[in-house]
Symmetry: D2
Subunit: 254 residues, 4 copies
């Protein structure tokens, strides 16, 4: 029985690509996403065609028990979860305070912060009992600085980052490794950035940023996700950043 | 009509003391707290006896409309809110993940993060229309590092800090000044620390930390709260820290 | 005998203005600068005319023993140094690596980092023996992020900030308060910014940034310098930032 | 001709081990250290015995032209430098200010900050002309917080970190990737930690911290050094941390 890599938030960008990478390295990839069963099936088929194992699950992560039940289901029916990729985004575009509703603010927290807490509550005891486990969290620049228009996103991601720290503080000595990956740039992901911008702007951005690698390419990011999962417990990374060479780090001026 | 200093979270520690300071400087202090009407009345009377103006409001900040109605009530019946002290804490003591319930995690967010968002949604448009206003936010070390046992508190405070940044980013150019005060140490406050520790441990801590000033003394902290409220708009502080001389900064080893 | 406020780097901007503020509050201001005796005399006369006490010293801070001798001289002939304003800048404008000489890089370190170390070595033992003292350090955004073209400045200021932390870590319990003031914006200072830009560009910037208060105004900054010097030892600030309301915080996009 | 991995500071710990890793992946490892020719020869022989290519150079990095000449020599006689591991430490143990001489403070800067600047001045133009290159910098917790007794070390490392940022800011768009690796814990390195502690304390620490992997193991760290060198330019890491699972992150209490 292969160990499981559970991906919460598996679109055609980071989530699905990282899942495929882990599948190619011998994991059973369990891909969870909210909608688009066809897209999910394509991801699963792609992995199987390449000789890997994969399962797709449609679930709405913010619904009661959705994450919890997925974890239980996978552990009972597929295999022990060795790696979780927590990849739920909460970016809703730039919105001034007056256009950010209570509901939107709460939704950001439910996706980015509370969902990770629920996952950790469910999976950490299992991992701790086995003495090992990895939780790799996709995060955003908004976790470390709050820009104008990012009220919901920044508050949610700031909470997410602190939660990654508290989880490591409690669980690293028990063999659970949490990595906070600060994605500091636009990702070449049609399911998220592509939808937010629309096809024309998205294509234009791809061209502007240097043809093939001015944006963060998910398949390349996946190498780093996989690397941190293979780090020996004597040398773990808790926090790292990723950006394209042609981009400017968040701490520099734009 | 005096300008109003609205204090959300006005116990006998930081909140009440800062309110009294502003009252002594010519503000009408509106003190809001959840319970202990007697304690609240004593704070209000203390301010009046000293020649200041004050009003007490009992309100449960996490209830729907509580903060919003308080703002509206004050603006209509007392005076324009020039300063808000957002002083709701969310510390629930050190609790491992297994003892941190979903409810406790959400409560932390409601108090520390969402409450500030609701306040900002309500008061920022009023302040922006007047072209000036100050929101001074009491924060905690947990806003910048997540210790073991601080899952709820750190996630909530991390979100709070990012929200302060997004608010400044949008509203500073319109004359609204948000200051994030990182309280990096134990406060000599009977209503919070005293209750958490119990009278004996609290007294012992006071003695250990150097008799009169090893803990953060609210009346002294109030001087800095007041100072940032008086900063000229050409030289605003967005973030500062406070700790006792005898304490160790959070970034140093304990 | 009045306590002394020693200003290392006292031009017509922050240094001289902060010195004048302390003089107006009862300190003997000792103003040190490298050149322009006429300008220095004007600052001293201005303070005296306003009823304060002041002395001017010309010294080249990076010369051997210059800072050390100044401290000794002041302690022996003027009075005990209660406050030091360490205000030597090291900004040399944006220079790519190829245009940043070894000498320029070392000069940055000598001014921004090593000079503060030499000052601390000399004055901290005196302050520690008296059980109190304040060192207020003007710092820059470059202390927390390294922009293109800031190789010398950022390396020097990054070192300066860490040194402020180590000094507090050792000396705060002995009553010495070090404050790192991150000046995050252009200062309305003819001696530094004015010289760097030239009169025309400088005037244009003043107009663009909002007439009277789009730039950091030294007299307003001085209020915060003075405030931290008056903080009670139960509530000290180690780090704070200053910027104009109309400016963008360094962590936000420009 | 193999590409070169130049290691500045190649003892039996991180430096030599990372060099051996790169040699095993097809690089010619050029190992530079100040002294102990026998130890250096053993490292070189070890690499050759394993089938790799290596050269040893004895040089005193703080001497004028030592780094510069090494770069030139390697480029002319061995091959193009594709990767530099800048691994010079500057830890001198905990020393209060009164025991930290001007010379020790300057030495820290020369090793940790100025040496990296000199290296960058020499090698970046070569790498920029080739459109690619990697500079991987071993750094320390002291780069982000200044503890008591770390006056020299923290000031030097704080400067080093900012310099890594300025170098990326200028050169990343030209294909040069600088990574700042924050080594946040004790390394199982007999040449540095072993010498500082002495054999008995060193052995005791190894036992206390969990026998085989409570300390950072250089061979495991080397995997991460190598990984960042292989990152595709669409997904580069500028900063990451490393610590043992059993250790506490610097931002948490000790």
């Amino acid at each position: 029985m292969k160990p499981v890599c559970l991906v919460i938030g598996a679109g055609a960008g980071i989530g699905g690509t990282v899942g495929a990478k882990f599948a190619s390295e011998g994991y059973h990839a369990v891909l969870c996403r909210r909608s688009d069963k066809d897209g999910l099936d394509r991801l699963v088929e792609g992995i199987k065609t390449a000789g890997g194992e994969a399962t797709g699950l449609l679930l709405n992560a913010i619904e009661d028990d959705a994450i919890e039940n997925a974890v239980t289901h996978v552990e009972q029916n597929i295999g022990p979860i060795e790696v979780v990729i927590y990849n739920l985004g909460a970016q809703i575009g730039d919105r001034p305070l007056e256009d950010t509703s209570y509901k939107a603010f709460e939704m950001g927290w439910r996706l980015a912060t509370f969902g990770l807490f629920r996952l950790a509550k469910t999976v950490c005891p299992l991992m701790a009992e086995r003495g090992s486990g990895k939780i790799i969290v996709t995060s955003a620049t908004a976790a470390v600085r709050g820009n104008k228009g990012q009220h919901s996103h920044a508050a949610a991601m700031g909470g997410r980052r602190m939660l990654c720290q508290t989880l490591n503080a409690q669980y690293a000595p028990q063999g659970i490794h949490v990595t906070h990956i600060l994605v500091d740039g636009a990702v070449d992901a049609p399911d998220t950035l592509g939808k937010m911008l629309g096809p024309e702007l998205f294509q234009k951005l791809r061209e502007t940023r240097g043809a093939e690698d001015g944006l963060l390419i998910p398949a390349q990011m996946a190498e780093t996700y996989y690397h941190v999962a293979t780090q020996h417990r004597s040398a773990w990374t808790h926090e790292l950043d990723l950006r394209a060479y042609s981009d400017v780090a968040w701490w520099n001026h734009a």
